[in-house]
């Protein structure tokens, strides 16, 4: 079971002052990307392997910008009512509810939070044949108010071909789903690769804001519960 560790108290946290992020994230990074956190060491990019992910036993995602080849590995660092915050070695944070990106920090333009109507197949996996016709998505961006600037979109799903895709050495058979969203502020398009059986979204191109644009999200190891 992929879980996250219980929070640690001050002694462990004190290590964070030395450029660390979170003990869970740090341990996972050490396992999967040895040498990545070492200061003043030339960075040798180790390819992420499924074996290393399994060994780390921590929920993990990989994200990238649509027009940028590099990808960032993030590990589950905290959980609150199903909202999982994943952190990178540089403490860039993505909060996900299922496969729905509901928060972004430290990558340029923040998404404060997001919500959607239910059922939302990004939040809870739904077999593709049972997906709703659409969902309503609400995004909150920084603004000069406590509640931020709210943008609401009506989104419709459109199913494409069944394909196979490999996500870090793990082959998935899924269907490409185009999600077209329209609202008062404009339109955007998401694209999801949903498991043909369970509906689990393994990869997704998701809009996270007018400035940040589209994020390429891969679910490497899904979150399945908190480690006690």
């Amino acid at each position: 079971m992929r879980r996250l560790l219980a929070p640690v108290l001050l002694a462990a946290l004190a290590a964070c002052s030395n450029g660390q992020v979170n003990p869970i994230v740090d341990a996972a990074v050490d396992e999967i990307l040895p040498g990545e956190r070492a200061p003043d060491q030339p960075k040798t990019r180790t390819p992420v392997t499924r074996e290393a992910l399994t060994r780390a036993d921590v929920a993990a995602i990989r994200v990238g910008l649509l027009d940028h080849p590099s990808r960032t590995l993030l590990f589950a660092a905290s959980e609150n009512g199903g909202y999982i915050t994943y952190s990178s070695v540089l403490r860039q944070n993505f909060t996900l509810l299922g496969a729905y990106i509901t928060g972004v920090r430290g990558v340029g333009w923040d998404l404060l939070s997001a919500a959607s109507s239910r059922p939302d197949p990004l939040v809870t996996p739904i077999p593709p044949g049972q997906w709703p016709a659409g969902v309503k998505r609400t995004y909150i961006f920084p603004n000069f108010t406590p509640q931020g600037r709210v943008e609401v979109y009506d989104c419709r799903f459109e199913f494409g071909a069944v394909q196979e895709m490999v996500v870090v050495e793990q082959r998935h058979r899924g269907v490409l789903v185009t999600e077209t969203c329209t609202g008062d502020y404009g339109t955007f398009e998401n694209l999801h690769f949903a498991d043909v059986g369970s509906g689990q979204v393994w990869r997704s191109l998701q809009w996270v804001g007018p400035q940040q644009g589209i994020i390429d999200l891969e679910i490497l190891v899904p979150f399945t519960g908190r480690r006690s």
Partner: protein, 725 residues
């Protein structure tokens, strides 16, 4: 089989975004206001848009600063140079045909009606006042309507028609309807003496009014606009001098503008049938940072306290545990950008208070939120309440009380910003932490910095724009929180003006000699003072200062401020005995041999309306004159501020000199707005008119209200969105 890269390459082609109907931002005219070429239009810039523009045609140059003050109110301050204006010398009586006029003027425009407010065909309608607070060279009023006609393929057409009074009534005029009603509206007085006065008694007067108008074509080519207009300004006064070479032959102007990139527009025009004009406009919006604002380290992830975590409270009564906890906490907070100044644990172990100095984050709620995350992760399980007290210049400002369970429940969830704002409590901080608190063992503390200090001098006659550089060494010994010795030395480096010599003021030169204090390349002691800032109770702050308080004055002073944290207004008072320093001797006072007791009572009011703030000061000024100052500014939670002020005292207009009374416009731009990393530095640009001696105030570097202003409930609320960032 498809591998991921291939699949998502296909997907990448599909993913994308489109932002609504793209309607170009209206461009500015040669006066810096939204408009055609030389004529205004009824359109507005986006709220808060700031534009700096330079235009040139014929023998006229205009340097304009304009601001969309409110969504329907815009304004501009301008410094124009008109070559060969021609003028009779006041002393000799000799007419000089090649006399160049340097002229300051202010405009304001009100949008009365927005396009589509009532019916789709209704245009924008605006009422404008050009040069309403100047010498009257450009004095005019106008009522103007503008309608946008979008097309599917050919771009947008923007049509404007207006009716002008004053200078805008000079061509093909028709009878002024107000003149028909009242004879007193028929004569238009354009002699404003020293200028700078509100010319309200001339509004809408004159024999005639005239029509003006034109069209813009915002072409389908991104950023390219063509303009044509019919001007109702005959530029008659400009042609009075025999040396003048600008003689309009047509009232039709045409031109093209191209937006090189967002915020930079260049225009070229053929004007008045005889000359070529250019206009360069640089524009920005405080609400839209120039760079991605959050490329730094994200906040610490937050996990709840485990239900089975030991929640003993003995640690709270053990000084060794407290010391260990506080020391570790200080280390973590330092890495996060906060300095832990003090720590106190309630004896029952259920609450803690931390006093923090935010040294990194431009927005205070962000520092508070990051501190709360550290406390959440690091405090023993028994702690249920976090009290966070931001300190500023050694002053304890407000205390934000956060319930740990609420914090845990809200983090990372939708609407966390609003919910946290509703769940936190904000109160004025006590003057000190309770007895037995842990304090940072760092005093005396020495801090210093060497910073390049570019300066931009605008609107000075004969030297309209000067960009130069000083290198500032700023040092401070903090003896204890609030008590410090400050020594700031400024080394002039690049493009420093020469000593202009003594001013010709009728008053004691308390400010008119200020250029002398910035002249030449000798190092200057900008400040050498001992200051003590302290808190008297939860809502009352105090300050005493002694030494070389500013470049021009040294002495002693005291200030008190009453500003409850949950109140939109506050009261303050300051009194100072100061003597004027020598401009060429850092420690001398004998050159001017002048001292004065100066001080003011002040009212501060945060209107809560679009961030507008008002301040009224009444009292005695540096030249010994008595009067009052009104300052109004619009402040943004990200540190931007645009404002203006005027001062009326018992100094006569003739004694005051050009401008009649002191007034000015200022802009504060946070450095954070221009760079993708956190910094609290600000750039200030003053568009004050010529330094005069009437209505001059002491420049205090640590006035109380600006220090504590951002920590009251209203302002914290406006910036609270950053609490979770």
């Amino acid at each position: 089989m498809l591998v991921a890269a291939t699949a998502m390459a296909v997907a990448g082609a599909a993913g994308g975004q489109e932002r609504g109907p793209v309607v170009g931002r209206p461009s500015v005219n040669l006066y810096g206001m939204t408009g055609l070429i030389d004529m205004p239009s009824a359109q507005d810039q986006p709220d808060a848009q700031v534009t700096l523009s330079y235009s040139y045609f014929g023998e006229t140059q205009r340097r304009n600063f304009s601001f969309q003050i409110l969504p329907r109110v815009s304004g501009a301050v301008r410094y124009a140079t008109i070559d060969n204006w021609g003028q009779r010398d006041e002393d000799t009586g000799v007419y000089d045909p090649s006399y160049d006029l340097f002229d300051r003027s202010f405009d304001v425009q009100f949008t009365l009606w927005r396009e589509g407010d009532w019916r789709w065909w209704m245009p924008d309608i605006a009422l404008g006042f050009r040069d309403f607070l100047g010498t009257g060279v450009y004095s005019s009023e106008y009522l103007v309507a503008t309608k946008t006609v979008p097309t599917e393929r050919a771009g947008d057409f923007v049509l404007t028609l207006g009716l002008g009074w004053g200078r805008l009534s000079r061509v093909n005029g028709i009878a002024n309807p107000f003149c028909q009603v009242s004879d007193s509206m028929c004569d238009r007085e354009n002699d404003f003496g020293e200028g700078g006065k509100l010319s309200w008694d001339t509004f809408f007067t004159g024999q005639n009014v005239a029509l003006f108008g034109g069209a813009e074509w915002r072409t389908p080519i991104d950023g390219l606009t063509f303009k044509v207009e019919y001007s109702s300004d005959d530029y008659k006064r400009e042609q009075k001098s025999p040396s003048n070479t600008f003689h309009p032959e047509s009232q039709v102007n045409v031109g093209a503008e191209y937006t090189i990139r967002e915020g930079i527009t260049l225009g070229a025009y053929y004007m008045y049938g005889t000359t070529v004009g250019v206009n360069l406009a640089l524009s920005a919006n405080p609400k839209r940072p120039l760079v991605p604002p959050d490329l730094g380290t994200g906040p610490l992830p937050v996990n709840p306290v485990p239900v089975d975590a030991p929640d003993g409270t003995g640690w709270a009564r053990n000084p060794a545990s407290i010391d260990k906890l506080a020391t570790a906490l200080a280390e973590i907070l330092k890495a996060e950008g906060m300095q832990l100044e003090g720590f106190y644990a309630d004896p029952d172990g259920r609450g803690v208070e931390v006093a923090i100095d935010n040294v990194r984050f431009q927005q205070n709620p962000k520092a508070i939120g990051r501190t709360a995350r550290v406390l959440q992760a690091g405090m023993p399980a028994s702690v249920q309440t976090f009290r966070i007290t931001p300190m500023e210049d050694g002053l304890r400002t407000s205390t934000i009380t956060i319930d740990r369970r609420d914090f845990e429940a809200e983090v990372d969830r939708p609407n966390a910003g609003e919910e946290s704002w509703e769940s936190v409590e904000i109160a004025g901080a006590t003057p000190a932490l309770p007895a037995g608190a842990w304090y940072r063992p760092a005093y005396p503390d020495f801090i210093w910095s060497i910073v390049p200090a570019p300066f931009l001098t605008l609107l000075t006659p004969g030297d309209p724009i000067r960009l130069g550089l000083n290198i500032d060494l700023e040092t401070q010994v903090i003896l204890r929180p609030g008590l410090s010795v400050t020594a700031n030395i400024s080394q002039p480096a690049i493009n420093i003006p020469n000593d202009p010599g003594p001013s010709e003021s009728n008053l004691h030169p308390v400010r008119s000699d200020s250029p002398r204090y910035y002249a030449d390349y000798a190092p200057k002691i900008a400040q050498l003072s001992v200051d003590y800032l302290f808190k008297i109770n939860e809502s009352t702050y105090g300050r005493t200062s002694a030494g070389l308080l500013e470049r021009m004055f040294g002495g002693v002073g005291a200030e008190i401020l009453w500003k409850p944290v949950d109140q939109s207004w506050g009261l303050g008072a300051d009194i100072n005995w100061v003597a004027q320093r020598n401009f060429d001797d850092p420690f001398g006072f004998d050159y001017y041999d002048y001292d004065v007791v100066t001080g003011h009572a002040s009212l501060y009011w945060d209107t809560g309306y679009y961030g507008l703030e008002a301040q009224v000061d009444a009292g005695r000024y540096l030249a010994g004159d008595w009067g009052g100052t009104l300052t109004v500014q619009r402040r943004f939670p990200n540190g931007w501020a645009v404002g203006g002020y005027f001062t009326l005292t018992d100094v006569t207009e003739s004694d005051f000199g050009e401008g009649s009374f002191d007034k000015g416009v200022f802009v504060e731009v946070p450095f954070r707005w221009t760079v993708p990393f956190e910094t609290r530095s600000n750039n200030s640009i003053s568009l004050t008119s010529v330094s005069r001696d009437g209505g001059a105030q002491l420049e205090t570097s640590n006035a109380l209200y600006p220090i504590i202003r951002d920590f009251d409930k209203g302002r914290l609320g406006r910036a609270w969105g950053s609490f979770w960032q």
